[in-house]
């Protein structure tokens, strides 16, 4: 849809070969972390200003997480002393023990893990099949379907009509209501379709000459060649389901079916009493509520932190820009 090419008018017609040689030379030097020849050394105040700005940004971005993690490991003494907990003096796992020993949080985590795994699988199956179906050139009628998919970017259904549909289908208060209404993300679909279309046609033709039909080509050639992009799209889907909050507010009334994000809101943002959320050993003094709350925040964040390095490796290069170009 969108086009990222810089304004063509901004690029003067230059002799190709000489120009390209210079550009690649400059690029290579830049990737080796050297200053391009034309860029002057910034003045000292400017350098300091830059460094301070960057340090400030990094601090602002990381501080809340570090603080919350620190509190979650704190003991009653650390928290109730009124002191600032950045490095708990007496680290303890009590808060985590409290939420993992059964009760609401444990159940919600189980729901969210199950939903994320099964939901991502369903979304991947639906998205890859449609993307493949739309990637073959010249299939009669496929263009109309493609326009319908692109139209979904412009015509998004409203909240109430979607709600009424889910209710009419009898899906209220069921887990499918959290997956099926958002089964295929139009953006992910376009990413995959573009990737499939860039697989060299010769490969597919060769398979066809060898007698493979479109189904075999999909499983034996297209999918194995797309492992990396499939992994990224799956990660995005998984993160989406894990983080989803609003759809559960709309569709799930039975609190025993709540995913972790709703439990998080109930006990952390609304400060509901934690006694029902945890199974505490009655002989021991309970951990301070604040540490339990923060432990819930941390366990809801950890899965994201675990997949983040993989996500980050891919989304900066290739995958997204491919989608933007198309």
């Amino acid at each position: 849809m969108a086009v990222t090419n810089p304004d063509p008018a901004a690029q003067p017609g230059t002799p190709m070969t000489a120009g390209m040689a210079v550009t690649t030379a400059v690029r290579r030097r830049r990737t080796d972390s050297a200053r391009p020849v034309w860029m002057e050394e910034p003045s000292l105040p400017l350098k300091v200003l830059k460094a301070v700005t960057l340090a400030f940004i990094v601090l602002v971005m990381t501080f809340p997480l570090v603080y919350v993690i620190a509190v979650s490991f704190s003991s009653a003494k650390d928290v109730l002393g009124g002191g600032l907990v950045l490095f708990p003096a007496n680290p303890t796992l009590d808060a985590y023990r409290a939420i993992f020993e059964g009760g609401v949080v444990t159940r919600a985590l189980r729901v969210s893990v199950g939903l994320t795994l099964l939901g991502t699988l369903a979304q991947m199956v639906a998205t890859t099949t449609l993307a493949y179906g739309l990637s073959k050139p010249g299939v009669p009628g496929a263009r109309i379907v493609l326009f319908l998919v692109l139209g979904a970017f412009l015509f998004t259904p409203g909240m109430i009509p979607s709600f009424l549909l889910v209710r009419e289908l009898g899906m209220l208060d069921t887990y499918p209501s959290l997956i099926v209404p958002g089964l295929i993300g139009a953006f992910n679909l376009i990413v995959l379709r573009n990737f499939f279309m860039n697989i060299p046609q010769e490969l597919l033709d060769a398979a066809r000459v060898d007698g493979a039909n479109d189904v075999q080509i999909f499983f034996r050639i297209v999918l194995p060649l797309s492992k990396a992009v499939l992994a990224v799209v799956a990660l995005f889907y998984g993160v989406g389901i894990w983080n989803a909050f609003f759809n559960a507010v709309l569709y799930i009334y039975d609190t025993s079916k709540w995913p972790i994000q709703l439990v998080l809101r109930q006990y952390v943002l609304q400060g509901s009493s934690l006694s029902s959320a945890t199974q505490l050993d009655p002989t021991q003094p309970p951990p301070p509520p604040q540490t339990i709350q923060m432990a819930i925040v941390v366990v809801a964040t950890v899965p994201i932190l675990l997949v983040y390095p993989f996500l980050q490796k891919y989304f900066t290069k290739g995958v997204l820009s491919g989608a933007i170009k198309g």
């Binding site: 090419n5 550009t23 997480l65 002191g83 998205t127 412009l154 109430i160 609003f246 952390v268 925040v297």
Partner: protein, 317 residues
């Protein structure tokens, strides 16, 4: 792209030129199997609900359903002009959107320029991997984190208390709610927003910078006359997309904080549709609000696109 591949596959199978439509459909019969489930999904869950907007012309009641509910013509739309709660939600939305446009739209651009000016790839990568992270956290987690730092019993107030100073709860103050949500939105997505600008910045031909330096241009001059013109089309494009969602600032961020600051400050159009339509049972009016909002959004995006094309930009369609 499609045409090139078409030509290529026709080369490989010259007889494909003569294939009839029937033959093509038969040849591609498996492909329809791949297309069908996804097509059904889009028809049912994206296009069928569009028809559900007829509720906007009804005094809809769940017990009566679509067929039995009385038709009221445009009465639900007339109420847009008289309902004080709607007016408040609309004003809140517009105020927040203007703040977003002024502050959170340029923020990623500034950060991208800063990152782009870094010479050391290592520093650049590390900063990037830190600023991208909050985009992947849910709003529930983000509000929880913020509450823990700025809330009544948060880190900041602990410091103030230890110093014997007055405490104040930033997270529960209706007067500063609007700037607060804008700062939160920047915190979450400023890094994510840089990706597209950084991609555009690396596409600028470095020869232009060399030529500018030879002509005696300093840093500011290069920024103004090379860098910004080089990414102008992407800025325009993002602005167009932004206009399309002008009247939807989002749901979760506001819904989650309504309890703390009250509906007076935190009711926006998205939450209004929910609280009035679904919670309040005023289905027809809620749907009318949602429908008008998406139609206005569509009109804005189409006219912004038209304007951009007239001004010689590429636009999005």
């Amino acid at each position: 792209m499609a045409t090139i591949q078409q030509v290529r596959s026709l080369d490989t199978f010259p007889q494909a030129n003569k294939i009839t439509l029937r033959g093509k459909i038969l040849r591609d019969r498996w492909m329809y199997l791949f297309i069908l489930p996804g097509l059904l999904y889009f028809l049912i869950f994206n296009y069928l609900p569009l028809a559900g907007n007829i509720v906007a012309f009804q005094e809809y009641s769940p017990y009566l359903g679509f067929r039995e509910s009385p038709w009221v013509g445009l009465r639900n739309f007339e109420r847009l002009f008289t309902d004080p709660d709607f007016e408040r939600a609309l004003i809140n939305t517009i105020q927040i959107e203007i703040l977003q446009l002024v502050f959170s739209f340029p923020a990623p651009l500034l950060l991208a320029l800063l990152l782009n000016s870094l010479i050391s790839e290592r520093v650049k990568r590390s900063v990037q991997s830190i600023v991208y992270l909050p985009h992947f956290l849910s709003w529930v987690i983000i509000i929880a984190l913020w509450q823990q730092v700025f809330g009544g019993n948060g880190f900041m107030n602990q410091i103030l208390r230890n110093q014997g100073m007055d405490t104040f709860n930033i997270m529960a103050n209706p007067d500063i709610f609007k700037p607060l949500v804008v700062v939160q939105a920047i915190w979450k997505d400023v890094g994510w927003g840089t990706i597209i600008f950084l991609a555009a910045l690396t596409k600028i031909d470095t020869q232009l910078y060399e030529a500018a330096v030879i002509d005696g241009a300093g840093g500011w001059r290069r920024l103004r006359d090379v860098t910004l013109p080089g990414i102008r089309s992407i800025i325009v494009l993002l602005l167009i997309l932004r206009l399309g969602s002008m009247f939807s600032v989002g749901f979760e961020q506001y819904f989650l904080q309504q309890q703390a600051v009250g509906a007076e400050a935190a009711e926006v159009l998205d939450t209004f549709v929910y609280s009035r339509g679904i919670q309040g049972g005023d289905w027809g009016f809620g749907t009318a609000v949602g429908l008008v909002r998406s139609l206005v959004g569509l009109m804005l995006i189409v006219s912004a696109n038209w304007l951009a094309r007239r001004a010689g930009e590429e636009g999005i369609f």
